[in-house]
């Protein structure tokens, strides 16, 4: 361990209340059970919608992607305890950026690689 006198926390930054950590410690893993059920529902839902093509494919693609994002949020919230931390939950900021940049990266790359060269 580090020296004994390092048991300090840096203070909460004003304006950053959203990263204040939150905890839970239930006696029965109810959250986990519900999370599992919800993830199954989302997976089968997306599958069912795709197999039956319930709407225009490109819209549907957006819908199933949104459902994947919902599952990611579910895993992060229920299973990964993403808001827990000792001191401010700083990792939330880079994590949020990572998802934003990641989605931007994919979307922009596709956009650029379409090569809509103008000259006509």
């Amino acid at each position: 361990m580090h020296g004994g006198d390092e048991q300090h926390e840096t203070a909460m930054e004003p304006g950053f209340e959203f990263i204040r950590p939150r905890f839970e410690a239930p006696k029965f893993p109810m959250h986990q059970v519900w999370g599992y059920v919800a993830s199954l529902v989302l997976t089968f839902g997306a599958l069912w919608m795709t197999v039956n093509r319930i709407m225009n494919p490109s819209v549907l693609l957006g819908v199933v992607l949104a459902m994947a994002v919902a599952q990611a949020a579910l895993q992060l919230g229920v299973f990964m305890h993403v808001r827990e931390s000792r001191g401010p939950a700083w990792h939330l900021v880079p994590l949020g950026m990572a998802f934003a940049i990641g989605i931007g990266l994919v979307g922009m790359s596709v956009w650029i690689m379409m090569f809509k060269s103008g000259v006509s």
């Binding site: 390092e6 693609l61 895993q75 931390s85 000792r86 998802f99 596709v110």
Partner: protein
């Protein structure tokens, strides 16, 4: 002019923290692991970008519809979702201080992981057997790299979890093994998230484009 004034207060409040956060140094490692996940998110984003750009470039090879078997993918997904649940229970048990229970759920997770990797390998072997390797077309290169990157991650996770089982037996639930368990669970759930995206973009998407 020293930090000791803060010590007492800080210590008191840390009693309420979950065990893996109670030690300052170990909790810092958890933050570090979160940031590792951040870089991995972008690794996968880059792989997804490659896939999305190259998916139509099938050259003389098969098209996505020919390659993907939705059934296998569905089974893989179910296995991985279940393993995500089991490791979640393991962490819950850890917080209840029930070591034997932790070990059992962790072992179950390992088994599910192995099942996942085996199915994936069989699927790959089947593709390669009919001549659809990653040299066949740009589409297959990007598909195999994306899925294999995930599979390699899972394999690493399995090795890690087995090593964890040994450490648990030897040392029990200490601040260190708790933190290692917790970071492992983060890793595993993260792989689950990535798989959900692979399932959606590759397998479901393959049906939609």
């Amino acid at each position: 002019m020293s930090s000791h004034a803060l010590d007492g207060k800080a210590k008191a409040s840390h009693q309420e923290l979950p065990p893996e956060f109670q030690d300052q140094e170990e909790s810092i490692k958890i933050t570090g692991f979160w940031l590792f996940i951040v870089t991995d998110v972008l690794i996968f984003a880059s792989l997804f970008a490659t896939y999305a750009v190259l998916v139509n470039r099938v050259a003389a090879g098969p098209t996505p519809a020919q390659v993907f078997q939705l059934n296998t993918a569905l089974i893989e997904t179910l296995i991985l979702l279940t393993s995500s649940f089991t490791i979640g229970i393991a962490i819950w048990a850890m917080r209840q201080n029930r070591q034997r229970m932790v070990s059992w759920w962790l072992a179950l997770t390992v088994l599910l992981g192995m099942a996942f990797v085996s199915i994936e390998l069989v699927e790959f072997a089947g593709d390669v057997a009919v001549g659809w390797g990653w040299h066949t077309s740009a589409f297959l290169s990007s598909f195999f790299l994306l899925v294999a990157a995930h599979g390699t991650h899972v394999t690493m996770g399995i090795i890690w979890a087995v090593a964890l089982l040994f450490q648990l037996r030897r040392r029990g639930l200490t601040t260190v093994t708790r933190r290692k368990l917790y970071t492992f669970s983060l890793y595993w759930h993260f792989l689950d998230i990535m798989w959900v995206f692979i399932f959606t973009v590759v397998y479901l998407g393959g049906r939609l484009i």
